[in-house]
């Protein structure tokens, strides 16, 4: 007895379904957002109080309050910013993951720890939704510097890796 064969109609239907799956996969690949603007997290110039201080950029609030210091004088500080927009007609879901801390380094080797980035930023592990035609979504970024007062003066810099996971 020969093995049963698919009729042309059956093959066509099967191919149709496969194409549907393939299209689904292809469509998933094309779902994405676009970072259209990035602004650094800047603590500006900190005239550090000798006994130390904690400088906070509380970007979890909207609007972001002025960077705060208890005893030091801070000028020129502002929160960081990522602006996202949809790049396709499909709805895009984006998870935004921020680190808890990063190191800021100075040319001479001195380091500062930028802490509580996740706490003081608008990171959203559960995600946001991007829709084409909607206003861009702004993700503000902050953190805090805990300074003891004996840190080396100078320019410090580092990078905060933000993971954008499109779904």
């Amino acid at each position: 007895m020969p093995a049963p064969r698919c009729s042309p109609l059956g093959r066509l239907l099967l191919l149709g379904m496969m194409q549907l799956f393939l299209q689904f996969v292809t469509t998933s690949a094309s779902l994405a957002g676009v970072v259209i603007q990035e602004t650094p997290i800047a603590f500006g110039t900190i005239d550090l109080h000798p006994s130390g201080d904690t400088i906070v950029i509380a970007a979890e609030f909207d609007p972001v309050p002025s960077p705060s210091a208890t005893r030091s004088v801070v000028t020129g500080a502002h929160s960081g910013l990522i602006t996202l927009a949809a790049s396709s007609t499909e709805e895009v879901h984006v998870d935004i993951s921020c680190p808890d801390s990063v190191i800021l380094s100075q040319a001479g080797g001195a380091q500062l720890t930028l802490r509580d980035i996740h706490k003081h930023s608008q990171c959203n592990d559960s995600g946001i939704v991007l829709l084409q035609g909607d206003p861009p979504v702004r993700i503000r970024l902050g953190g805090e510097l805990v300074l003891r007062g004996r840190e080396t003066s100078g320019d410090y810099s580092g990078a905060v890796p933000i993971l954008l996971n499109y779904e």
Binding site: A3, A29, Y156, A159, Y166
Partner: protein
């Protein structure tokens, strides 16, 4: 098993229709059963195919979701400055008891520059106090000046780790066994533990430092010196 079963199998698998062969004899009946088994195999094959395709799609879809992630690095910067400057000022940048024409019986010389509520930094010395008639000239409290760009409150711990120090002959500290004792610096100076000094950003704050010097009887003529640590606390 009957043809109905076959037809049922055919109906429930719309993608692959089974060929219908004879149907009246035993042999045919047997054949029909085989056909149904083949139908089941075909059905299973189709389900497996679709399932595999779906799993593949889901897996690929998941892979794409992960692959669509990106890391954006946002620069973070800070410029640290420390504008606080501590310096000694005055005509003699030190706690200076000047020249003491000492009573041979010894004496206690007091330079009172202590803090008051109105002058938390203390006050410049007017006249050194004595208890036994010694004559003091050129005595001067030290002036510690604090400047900063921002507002500060300063409190000084004098003679950190003790209450007094000894001043010894600056030329012959071994041969001259006379020792003068400097004490009560905290009580006779400004910005002490009891009354801290507020310093306004951009304006210098002056802290006067005095003390009490005990000269023993029979002290030799000499220049006596000593150093002591202080701790400047910024509150």
């Amino acid at each position: 098993m009957s043809t109905d079963n076959l037809e049922y199998g055919t109906r429930t698998n719309p993608m692959c229709r089974q060929n219908k062969n004879g149907s009246s004899s035993k042999g045919t009946r047997t054949t029909t059963i085989r056909q149904e088994e083949n139908m089941k195999k075909t059905w299973k094959s189709s389900v497996l195919l679709i399932g595999t395709a779906m799993l593949g799609a889901v897996a690929l879809s998941g892979t794409n979701a992960m692959a669509a992630g990106e890391i954006t690095e946002i620069p973070a910067t800070a410029v640290l400055t420390q504008s606080v400057v501590e310096s000694l000022a005055g005509t003699a940048p030190k706690v200076d008891f000047g020249s003491i024409d000492i009573n041979p019986a010894g004496d206690v010389i007091t330079m009172d520059c202590k803090a008051t509520v109105g002058n938390p930094g203390g006050t410049a010395l007017v006249t050194a106090g004595v208890t036994k008639g010694s004559v003091v000239t050129g005595a001067e409290c030290a002036e510690l000046v604090i400047t900063a760009a921002n507002n500060l409150t300063v409190q000084v711990d004098y003679i950190t780790g003790g209450t007094s120090i000894n001043l010894v002959d600056s030329i012959d500290p071994v041969g001259n066994t006379t020792v003068l004792v400097l004490s009560d610096v905290d009580a006779l100076s400004g910005a002490n533990a009891a009354i801290p000094l507020p310093v306004v950003g951009g304006s210098p704050g002056t802290i006067y430092v005095g003390g009490k010097l005990t000269v023993p009887p029979g002290a030799k003529t000499a220049t006596y010196i000593g150093d002591y640590p202080i701790t400047v606390n910024y509150l």
